[in-house]
């Protein structure tokens, strides 16, 4: 390989380039690379397919229907609004009425729901039922509690619209009774159309009784099972004083207790 090269009449000839003087690094190296033409294997396409599905999931779940008005609310507490008194080093002395704290906490828990039901409770047309104008929110607390505890599956009609989304709603029984009571209160008072005189409050005791009552039901709850519950039935338990949060007990305020069976 080291014999002198022929005269190739190239312009570097003036520099006396002959193979014997070419640097060793250049002499010993392999020829310029080429590419083989092995076909793409089927198994690799599966990796690509899995990643496509994952990416599509991100796009579908988080894109908010590609609406310019839909800013980010998913999995964040953006809908939570003012923080409850007592947070952030506040000693709690400036606490407002009990119901305000209870609602603010409920709004925080509602952060779990905004991805589907939206901060405004309007749901997503054709996919997730609304909470505004929903007979399940406006009606008795028993059905609402069953949905919260057990989730839902199957076709359902809400506010005259039918929905048939698979895995319609997950069960939220991993949340404490208190949190479920707060969010149920928040939903009913914010989005519900309550009968005259009803406060819409759901207490921790009520949710606790619901947890016991529905423990035998399947999860997620088929909508056919849900239909068996009395639409007007309320959970058992005493109503509370909206100012203090104390149970109203044996002497209920006018117009409140009689709604509770």
């Amino acid at each position: 390989m080291s014999e002198p090269g022929q005269n190739m009449n190239l312009d570097y000839q003036t520099e006396g380039a002959r193979v014997s003087t070419i640097h060793h690094a250049v002499r010993r190296e392999h020829a310029e690379p080429e590419a083989g033409d092995e076909p793409v294997r089927f198994g690799w396409l599966l990796i690509g397919a899995a990643l496509l599905i994952a990416g599509g999931g991100v796009l579908g779940t988080y894109s908010g229907g590609f609406s310019q008005d839909q800013t980010y609310a998913f999995a964040y507490y953006t809908g939570a609004g003012p923080r409850p008194p007592g947070a952030n080093g506040d000693d709690g002395s400036a606490k407002g009425p009990w119901i305000d704290v209870w609602m603010a906490e409920g709004k925080k828990v509602y952060g779990n729901c905004v991805a589907c039901h939206q901060a405004s409770g309007s749901g997503m047309a054709g996919q997730f039922p609304p909470l505004v104008g929903s007979e399940y929110v406006d009606g008795g607390t028993k059905r609402l509690a069953a949905i919260l505890h057990k989730g839902l599956t199957g076709p359902i009609t809400v506010g005259g619209q039918s929905y048939n989304t698979p895995n319609l709603m997950p069960a939220w029984n991993t949340l404490s009774d208190e949190k479920l009571a707060q969010v149920a209160t928040y939903i009913r008072r914010s989005f519900g159309k309550l009968p005259e005189g009803e406060s819409g409050v759901v207490t921790t005791e009520m949710m606790k009784s619901a947890r016991e009552e529905f423990s035998g039901l399947p999860s997620p709850l088929p909508t056919s099972e849900l239909a068996k519950l009395d639409p007007a039935a309320h959970l058992p338990g005493a109503q509370v004083d909206l100012e203090t949060g104390d149970p109203l007990g044996a002497a209920p305020a006018e117009g409140e207790e009689k709604k509770v069976p």
């Binding site: 090269g5 380039a17 250049v26 690379p33 092995e38 496509l52 990416g55 609406s67 839909q70």
Partner: protein, 494 residues
């Protein structure tokens, strides 16, 4: 022409030698000035990390405040080191692959000086407090047209070489080089034009992250991949496993990358689809990166032992391993449940550093270790320093990555807890910032040997020898990494 036999014909050798001679001065100019910028950037990086750990240190001096040092460090690293090293590699590799001699070396050297002047002006402006606080676009806004024009004028020569290439199939590295050459001006000019339009402040934050992500996926990663696709067959002496797969990887990257960026702002005040599209395309881009990784793995199969000896191979393959890691981490971060804890905090810095140093710079070192002996006519002086360069760079980048991951996680968890004061999220990350300091100390140390060796090569004081400088082999003992591997295995070299 056989693709696997070393040496090839005397004509081939003469042609290669002529090409190397024609690009020698511009390429060495870019490499040495890049190395000088890297030196400046590592020093600034150490100081910035130290300031982050001990904010009260030298607090009387505004020139040493974190807000100036850190952007100066990043800009020196990107525009000083990485882009110049990349340009040098592009010129050499394009000339080699097109089998064309460079006709206008002086023109490129002049433009290279202009680029250096622009970057120096920009870094000094940022350092003296005239930066505009847009990440990676901190240079005063009058500078960008000059830098963009200089870049375009330089890459025109690369595109011309590609245009007049000798007939034959286009190698995959050429595709990446051409793409990187034209993508950068597009990304850079678009970002700067939109930012200059004085739109909403929120959107300019969005444009900045779009630019950052696209600089990574449209410039740094393509060049790193081009290097790997070139160096690996060169050292191993095999063709790239599959051209269809390589093309698939290229186009996946080309199609997906431009959509990225906003996923850094999940939960930000943007229409929800913007981050969602960014996140999804980051996951889609992982398909392309996986294709690259699979292709290189099959090309390397059975030859991994060569990594022990060949510095070029070791650095560029390490860069590719880091690329896979980077792409996987980026894809994971595109899920909101994970991103929740890893965005808006130090983990992003860890990830960016991984891309710039772990992926691009390591691959670039591999290319430089390959190119410089060929264009200077002497061998690297000391294999031991190459080994130290590799290991301390590896320690450095992994320390930064792991430390920033831990810092980001603790910061993110604290940020996510709405009832925790913001201050806490700063305090919990503080212990981990030691990793950032330590990482940059390692990187600075690793590069000392590199600078010294490069300076020796530059002035022609490299080793005069027939054999290459290999790692773990005494000079002159083996004529190639392949031979060294055979000796190590106890088989005679045929």
């Amino acid at each position: 022409m056989s693709s696997t036999s070393p040496g090839a014909s005397p004509q081939d050798m003469q042609e290669r030698a002529a090409i190397d001679r024609s690009v020698r001065f511009p390429v060495m100019f870019f490499f040495t000035s890049a190395a000088a910028w890297l030196f400046a950037a590592t020093i600034l990086g150490m100081v910035a990390a130290l300031k982050l750990r001990v904010p009260t240190l030298w607090d009387a001096c505004p020139w040493l405040s974190f807000g100036r040092i850190f952007p100066a460090h990043m800009d020196a690293l990107i525009y000083g080191w990485a882009m110049q090293a990349g340009l040098g590699i592009m010129i050499w590799m394009m000339a080699r692959l097109s089998r064309v001699e460079l006709r206008n070396a002086t023109y490129i050297i002049v433009l290279g000086h202009v680029w250096n002047f622009g970057v120096a002006l920009g870094v000094l402006a940022v350092w003296s407090g005239f930066g505009n606080s847009r990440t990676w676009l901190d240079f005063p806004s009058m500078l960008w047209p000059m830098l963009a024009a200089t870049y375009v004028l330089i890459v025109v020569t690369i595109l011309v070489m590609f245009r007049v290439r000798r007939d034959g199939p286009v190698f995959i590295s050429e595709e990446y080089l051409v793409a990187a050459a034209v993508w950068f001006p597009w990304v850079y000019v678009t970002a700067n034009l939109i930012l200059g339009a004085k739109g909403s402040a929120v959107m300019s934050a969005g444009v900045t992250v779009w630019y950052m992500q696209n600089l990574l996926y449209f410039w740094f990663i393509p060049i790193a991949v081009a290097i790997a696709y070139y160096i690996i067959p060169k050292v191993v002496g095999r063709p790239i496993y599959s051209y269809p797969l390589a093309k698939f990887g290229f186009w996946t990257l080309a199609i997906c990358a431009g959509w990225m960026g906003f996923q850094r702002f999940y939960g930000g005040p943007f229409p929800a689809w913007m981050p969602a599209v960014g996140g999804a395309s980051t996951i889609f881009a992982l398909i392309g990166i996986t294709a690259i990784a699979v292709n290189l793995f099959y090309t390397m199969q059975g030859k991994f032992s060569l990594m022990q000896f060949s510095p070029s191979l070791r650095f560029s393959l390490f860069g590719m391993a880091m690329l896979l890691l980077f792409a996987v981490l980026s894809a994971l971060k595109s899920f909101i449940g994970i991103s929740k804890y890893l965005q808006f905090n130090l983990f992003e810095l860890g990830l960016d550093t991984l891309a710039i140093y772990g992926v691009f710079s390591m691959a670039a070192f591999g290319a430089i270790y390959f190119i410089v002996p060929r264009i200077t006519g002497c061998e690297w002086p000391h294999g031991g320093w190459i080994r130290r360069h590799f290991w301390f760079s590896t320690y450095g980048i992994l320390t930064v990555l792991v430390g920033m991951f831990a810092a980001g996680l603790s910061q993110g968890a604290s940020l996510d807890a709405w009832d925790t004061p913001f201050e806490v999220s700063v305090k919990v990350a503080k212990p981990w910032i030691v990793a950032l300091v330590l990482g940059w100390v390692f990187i600075a140390f690793s590069n000392l040997g590199f600078f010294w060796q490069l300076a020796l090569m530059f002035v022609g004081k490299g080793r005069r020898s027939e054999g290459p400088t290999l790692i773990h082999v005494a000079p002159g003992e083996a004529a190639s990494a392949e031979q060294a591997a055979n000796v190590a295995k106890g088989t005679a070299h045929a």
